[in-house]
């Protein structure tokens, strides 16, 4: 991404010098405004990206926790920086969030005070789940049910899981002062009421804001291309794209499944720059799929809406649900999602 970096930095230099003409001193807030202007005025996403690679840092992570993350469906949210969050207080946060959940669940009724709550919350860090050393450490929050019977081998059942991460979040980190912790991507698995409870507590405690992260068709086609480009030792699933045709009374879905090796072959034929994916390549890749489909079914898929992309790397839906399948490209997938989350909170 070197060439990209230099281009961006000259751009930033130019705009910031322009800003100084009329504003005095660049406060963090002005830096934010600058980055937003930059984002709005230029193409919303950079025209080229790296093909996901295996990260060095990923070696540190706990295989058990990674296994826990894979093959689960996560709902995506973007999250503004957390104010005064501290990794040294995770135990305290567990206690407070447990109490909060217990209180909220019994809202309107007399609340039982004390330690006797039926749920338990744990906070733990997810080591290595980041792109660079500067990225904030990822952390995991779980709601466990406490067994009612005080038996010896009490098994704690996981009711809900959510985790926060930041992978290659440099563009955000740059503009945020130290009081804040940047974990712009939040992924939740479990009942939405629990997500709401945890989210509300975070919003109240760290003055942050959660927003659902939807993924539009433009970004979905990027994912389709990037993930097709990933080298796989063995393919676990077919590459499948799903389009939706808005018609009443029920919308019509068109599923387009390709053998992953065919998809890869198609990609290799449109792909030029090694290690990178460009906008032209993405467009060309999708156009090829469209024209192939048109030749057979006389349907212009480009006139419909892409809603889901499933590959052996991951499967993602436009309404912000993702299932990551491949351990090797976990960081790469998260990096792109972090980028989208940062774009949303800017």
């Amino acid at each position: 991404m070197d060439s990209d970096d230099t281009a961006e930095s000259t751009l930033r230099h130019r705009t910031s010098s322009r800003l100084q003409d009329c504003c005095i001193g660049a406060t963090p807030l002005q830096k934010r405004i600058e980055s937003v202007r930059k984002q709005v005025s230029f193409v919303p996403t950079p025209p080229r990206r790296k093909i996901p690679q295996c990260s060095q840092l990923q070696e540190d992570n706990d295989p058990q926790k990674v296994a826990f993350i894979l093959h689960k469906q996560w709902t995506l949210y973007s999250l503004t920086p957390l104010y005064k969050f501290s990794y040294t207080n995770l135990k305290e946060y567990s206690r407070l969030l447990s109490a909060f959940i217990a209180a909220e669940k019994q809202k309107g009724l007399a609340v039982e005070v004390g330690e006797d709550v039926s749920v338990k919350v744990t906070f733990s860090t997810l080591l290595g789940m980041k792109g660079t050393q500067r990225d904030s450490e990822a952390f995991l929050v779980q709601i466990l049910s406490k067994s009612q019977l005080p038996s010896e081998n009490r098994e704690q059942k996981v009711l809900w899981t959510g985790w926060f991460c930041c992978v290659f979040g440099d563009s955000l980190l740059e503009t945020i002062p130290e009081d804040f912790t940047c974990v712009p991507l939040f992924l939740a698995n479990g009942a939405e009421t629990n997500t709401a409870l945890v989210g509300t507590w975070f919003q109240k405690t760290f003055d942050c804001h959660f927003s659902p992260l939807a993924i539009n068709a433009f970004n979905l086609s990027w994912m389709a291309a990037m993930w097709t480009a990933c080298k796989m030792d063995q393919y676990m699933a077919a590459t499948e794209l799903l389009w939706s045709v808005p018609c009443s009374p029920q919308s019509l879905d068109i599923s387009y499944a390709i053998h992953p090796e065919d998809a890869k072959a198609l990609w290799d034929s449109v792909h030029k720059t090694p290690g990178e994916v460009t906008q032209e390549e993405v467009d060309l890749f999708m156009d090829c799929l469209y024209s192939h489909f048109h030749r057979h079914f006389k349907i212009h898929l480009s006139a419909t809406r892409l809603v889901r992309v499933s590959t052996s790397v991951a499967s993602v839906h436009t309404d912000g649900k993702i299932k990551i399948l491949c351990h090797k490209y976990l960081i790469g997938v998260l990096a792109y999602l972090t980028e989208l989350a940062i774009f949303q909170i800017d």
Partner: protein, 752 residues
């Protein structure tokens, strides 16, 4: 609503020191005040189209007062009349209570009546059932009511109902200190089997750590032994155990269901309404939305009541970080001032160094005192927290981001109104709104929340115009050209306000920081560039709009309003900037058919002259500021416009320079004698004045326009001035040197 509230404030203090005996007189006084108030409000509301509603309200208020007085007096003996009037008054009170709630005074009176036993049991019950506060219940009323319980005038069932009422209204009692002092009394009431569950609930709400005493624990345990495992007793015991684990060795069941049933709450619906009254507009009902086009709206599920978070002190940072806390932190945290107690500006000033900030910064939007604080705070993190919250909330609430989500339009508009109020209060725009505009303007239809949206535009913080233009003003121009004339006018008005806000900001900012690290010239000239670009942009919009709308008078007014701001920048804001209007504005206004437009043009020309001469004078005095010398082009332009105007209106020699029309064309058009046709007499905007002037002078004769000359010309001028053409008067006074001999006069050019 407000009269009652106001009375409460003024009376609350007095009342605490007075016993219930003197209360009656107090209420009379209060009543008079009420009446006066309502009269006042009626007067105020005279130009209010809803005046009739005011009458209705007044009547209802009077009825309520009459009803209150009736209850206060006690029952009348004649039975038949009694029932009727009682019923009537009941209905009045109940109506008000269920509709809008009763004021604290009303609650006070009714509690007194219900518990003093003046009426029978049935009446007391009915009174208690309709005791729904409008906002709050005063603590004094409760204390007084409890004192009635000691007298023993009310029956057991009334007592039970009263306790139930107290528990239901607990959150709405303004203070609880005095009530807590009566803890012993309540505790003693546990003896009464019928009251026990309700008293337990009340104690459960009331208990503080210092209330937990060994003798009370013993009493509770003996009660439990007597009555068995009652949930209400268990609740109280577990609370006691929580506060003082050492005092209670009995094991209580670890997992407990519901201690107190809320379902039998008589006032449930009323309380819901009350809570909504106190907390702002109710949330729209949650609607399950299907289909991938709709992003799940979080707020409706997450934050139940309103978009803007409730104000809470951020004690968390201290509490949560307990372990690593230094001694100094403890000391400082002890001295900090909780937000909930912040009620007045002096309080803010006194505690500004130790104010606890809200846990969610968004809460400041609803609190003007904290907005003051935000205004002067230097801490960037405070502003960043607000920025993030506001950006995200705007994005999430914005209705044109979502498909088919227009039902929340009202809510979004009121949210925008709150933001705009805060911006007006601060006299400063939020950065979040600027970014929101960047993102949302390209998608805006120009209709939805128009007035709010345009107001947001007018509060964009000052910055480089050329940078903002592609993000914002180009999109606005597209909407401008394709929309109705009314939209055009409101955009022009918005841009005028934007200009004014920028000018105000610049004029204060520059004078506040006379010395800076960076050279003043470069920053100031940069700023001036930005402002002049804005003015040129509006000039371009206006010129095109005038053509599109074929010189519409209404539109021209809005354009000239803008230039009324522009022409006075140098004098009013002390900023080195004079920009004239483009010819595309000047000529259509000069040739307008409307006298008020012409008059406004004259006024603007007069102000331009004032500003330019002031600038020239200052240039001579302060040689230092030479870099701001206005270009001679500005002066030339002004002089050119001036010549044209004088040539048309005064000397009847229009368009001597620059504009040449072929004589043949004029002949074809039948206006060979065009020279005088634009002077003060013949100008289409003024012709009617000339006619009525002549008719007034000599009503009998046939009018001849050409007769207005010489002395009559001067009379005619005086007539025009008396008809309200002040702009024209100022213009002529300053620009035309009138000699005693009528003509020829000379034009006052500005030398350059």
């Amino acid at each position: 609503m407000s009269p009652q509230k106001r009375v409460k404030d003024s009376k609350a203090q007095k009342r605490t020191s007075q016993g219930s005996d003197s209360y009656q007189t107090n209420f009379v006084a209060l009543e008079e005040e009420n009446l006066n108030d309502s009269k006042c409000s009626l007067k105020h509301g005279q130009d209010n189209p809803m005046k009739d509603y005011g009458h209705v309200d007044d009547e209802a208020e009077d009825d309520l007062k009459r009803a209150m007085r009736y209850f206060e007096k006690g029952p009348v003996k004649t039975s038949q009349m009694k029932d009727k009037t009682l019923e009537k008054h009941f209905r009045t009170v109940e109506n008000v209570a269920w509709k809008s709630g009763l004021a604290p005074e009303g609650i006070d009176i009714l509690l007194n009546v219900a518990l003093s036993g003046k009426f029978g049991n049935a009446v007391n019950t009915r009174i208690l059932k309709c005791m729904i506060p409008a906002t709050l219940v005063s603590e004094d009323s409760v204390v007084k009511a409890i004192s009635w319980l000691c007298v023993g005038k009310c029956s057991g069932s009334t007592k039970v109902l009263f306790y139930r009422w107290l528990v239901a209204m607990f959150d709405f009692i303004d203070h609880k200190e005095q009530i807590n002092l009566l803890y012993g009394f309540f505790f003693a009431s546990l003896q009464d089997d019928a009251l026990c569950p309700y008293v337990c609930h009340l104690l459960y709400l009331l208990t503080k750590k210092e209330n937990v005493k060994p003798f009370r624990v013993r009493k509770l345990l003996s009660l439990q032994a007597k009555m068995g495992m009652q949930p209400h007793l268990q609740a109280l015991l577990s609370l006691y155990k929580f506060f003082a684990p050492t005092l209670i060795s009995v094991s209580l069941p670890a997992r407990k269901k519901i201690y107190f049933k809320n379902s039998d709450n008589l006032w449930k619906t009323a309380l819901l309404a009350l809570r909504q009254r106190n907390q702002g507009p109710p949330p729209e009902p949650v609607k399950l939305m299907l289909g991938p086009a709709n992003v799940r709206p979080l707020k409706r599920k997450w934050n139940s009541y309103s978009v803007i978070p409730v104000l809470n002190s951020s004690s968390y940072s201290k509490e949560y970080g307990k372990k690593g806390m230094a001694l100094s932190d403890y000391l400082s945290s002890n001295g900090s001032f909780p937000l909930e107690q912040l009620k007045s500006f002096p309080q803010l000033l006194k505690n500004i160094h130790c104010l606890e900030l809200p846990s969610q910064m968004g809460a400041v939007l609803n609190n003007s005192l904290l907005l003051h604080y935000i205004n002067c705070v230097k801490d960037e993190s405070v502003l960043l927290r607000l920025y993030h919250w506001l950006s995200q909330t705007l994005q999430e609430e914005c209705i044109w981001y979502k498909v088919n989500n227009y039902e929340h339009g009202k809510e979004f508009a009121s949210f925008l109104d709150t933001i705009i109020r805060a911006q007006c209060f601060l006299q400063e725009g939020f950065y979040s709104c600027e970014t929101f505009l960047y993102k949302s303007l390209p998608l805006w239809d120009g209709l939805c929340c128009r007035s709010q949206f345009l107001q947001l535009v007018s509060w964009i913080p000052f910055s480089s115009f050329s940078e903002m233009k592609p993000l914002l003003f180009d999109h606005l121009a597209q909407l401008f050209f394709t929309s109705t004339i009314y939209f055009k006018c409101s955009v022009l008005q918005t841009l005028r306000e934007l200009l004014q806000n920028w000018l105000l900001w610049l004029s204060t900012d520059i004078h506040m920081k006379p010395v800076m690290d960076s050279p003043l010239e470069s920053t100031l000239s940069g700023s001036m560039n930005s402002v002049s670009e804005l003015i040129h942009y509006v000039g371009w919009l206006s010129t095109t709009a005038v053509r599109l709308e074929s010189n519409n008078t209404f539109l021209l007014h809005f354009i000239l309003d803008f230039y009324e701001k522009v022409c006075d920048v140098y004098i009013n804001y002390n900023l080195p900037l004079v920009i004239l209007f483009p010819p595309g504005i000047f000529y259509p206004t000069l040739l307008s058919l409307d006298s008020s437009i012409l008059n406004q043009l004259c006024y603007i020309m007069h102000r331009y002259r004032k500003n330019l001469t002031a600038a020239k004078k200052n240039e001579f005095i302060q040689k230092t500021k030479l870099q701001f010398r206005f270009s001679t082009k500005t002066y030339q332009e002004f002089n050119h416009y001036l010549m044209v105007m004088v040539g048309c209106l005064w000397t009847s020699r229009p368009f001597q320079k620059g504009l040449y029309i072929d004589h043949e064309v004029l002949e074809k058009a039948g206006v060979v004698e065009y020279k005088s046709s634009l002077n003060l007499v013949h100008h289409p905007a003024l012709l009617s004045y000339a006619v009525s002037f002549l008719l007034q002078e000599c009503p009998e004769e046939r009018v001849s326009m050409s007769s207005i000359r010489g002395k009559k010309w001067n009379w005619y001028l005086d007539y025009l001035f008396s008809e309200g053409l002040q702009g024209l008067q100022l213009f002529i006074k300053s620009s035309i040197h009138r000699s005693s001999v009528p003509r020829p006069e000379s034009i006052n050019h500005i030398e350059h």
